[in-house]
Each structure stands twice: as C-alpha cells, then as structure tokens.
C-alpha cells in the first residue's frame, strides 16, 4: 500500500483492523494495541511491526473500534482478510501487487 501511495498521491487507503479471532487468537489484542496508539503514524508503525512478527505493547486504552469494525465487516458480508473495498463498491479478497491495486482503485480493471 505504501508503494501505491508513493506512486499515486491521488489514492488513499483506510485500514480497518479486523482480527479473525478464531484463526488468530492473539490478533484481537494486537488490533487493540495498534488502535490505542495516539497518532496515525504510531498506529501504522505498530501495524508494520505486527506484520513483521515483532512483539507489540499491551493495549493501553479501552476502545470499541474493533467491535465496530467487526460488525461492519459482518454487515458487508466480509469474512476474509485482507478484503479491500474500492470507491466504486467493488471488492477484492487477498493480497495484490501495487500495480493491480492502482488499476482497481482507479477503476481501470
């Protein structure tokens, strides 16, 4: 995603933490720790640390944002990660290369 926004400044990603608690029992705590960070940049570094399998701090706040995201995912029929919803309402499940992401985000699929 970072590659994409470096190439195209007219694309933005909003990442919602959606832990699949049944498959990954630790990911709920990690999601909370990430969202408890005080700034967007901090959240992003924590997320990157998680992807690199580095340990995360304990969640330092109470928040219901994970529950909200999970409810939202359910109402949209989303059950797998990563799932991307593009501006035109189309969706994609699974990892994508930067160029494919650019095409899909700008509707050139």
């Amino acid at each position: 995603m970072k590659q994409v926004v470096e190439k195209r400044s007219d694309i933005v990603f909003f990442i919602k933490m959606f832990p699949l608690a049944k498959i990954h029992p630790e990911s709920y705590k990690k999601s909370k720790a990430i969202m408890c960070a005080k700034t967007n940049e901090e959240s992003l570094s924590l997320l990157e640390a998680a992807f690199e399998k580095k340990p995360l701090p304990e969640p330092s706040c109470t928040t219901d944002v994970i529950e909200k995201n999970t409810a939202l995912a359910g109402s949209l029929g989303i059950s797998g990660t990563p799932t991307i919803i593009f501006g035109d309402g189309s969706r994609m499940t699974g990892a994508l290369k930067a160029d494919s992401l650019i095409d899909m985000a700008t509707g050139k699929k």
């Binding site: 990603f13 999601s31 959240s43 990660t81 799932t83 919803i85 035109d88």
Partner: protein, 135 residues
Amino acid sequence: MRRLRTSLALFVLVSSLMLSSTAFAATQLSKEAAHNALKPIIPDIEVLTVESTPLQGIYEITLRSAGKNAIVYMDASGKTAFFGAMIDIATKTNITQEKFNKINKIDFSSIPLEGSIVVGDPKAKYKAVVFDDPD
C-alpha cells in the same frame, strides 16, 4: 400430389425440430423451477438469475435471502443443491467468489472512514477501505 408430399415433409421436419427443442427445454432450469426447488431450504428466497456453468448439468442460481445476495448451485432435477466455491483450474480463479463480489457491490459512501489507519492523503480522490488482520 407433389404439393401434398412437400407440405407433409415440411410438417414432419418442423414437428421433429419442435420436439427436439422441447427435449432441450425440459433439461434446463427455469427461474420458477429454481424458486420452487429451493424454497423448502430458503423460505424467503427471491431468485435473481439462473445461468449455466462450465459444469454440464449444473446451474448457477443467484438469489436474495435475508437481505443478502448469495449463490447456490443445482441441477435441473431440483433435488440436490450445494453451496461452494467453483474454481477455474486454468486461471486459478474462484468463479463463485468473483460472482459473489459482482452481485454484492457495496455503497462505498456508507462505510464510516473513522477508526481507520490512514495510508496516504485522506483527501485523495481514489479511496479504498482495507479490512485486515494484523496477524
């Protein structure tokens, strides 16, 4: 006499053609037949489309139930149905998932953007929302 034979021959030809097309129609699945076959297991079903699939004899039915769109597969007999992922082996694509995504397009403006980690300029023209698991 010749005229009678020609029209008789024509009559036989046309009716045999009609018979064979009826035979084909009998093994196809109509929307009403799909509706009636699936109602016992999906009482509030609304059949949207019935299309053939690469698998001979198996039809893809898109339907609406409990406010959601779904896909089920069934043959023309209406006795056995299944939910599952149909895969195109040559292209390694999940045909069912792709169809599902197509019939379930989301109203992007209804997705709340708060509570997200932002990568990029929040005011950028092209927006995308990513549901991701940190693990």
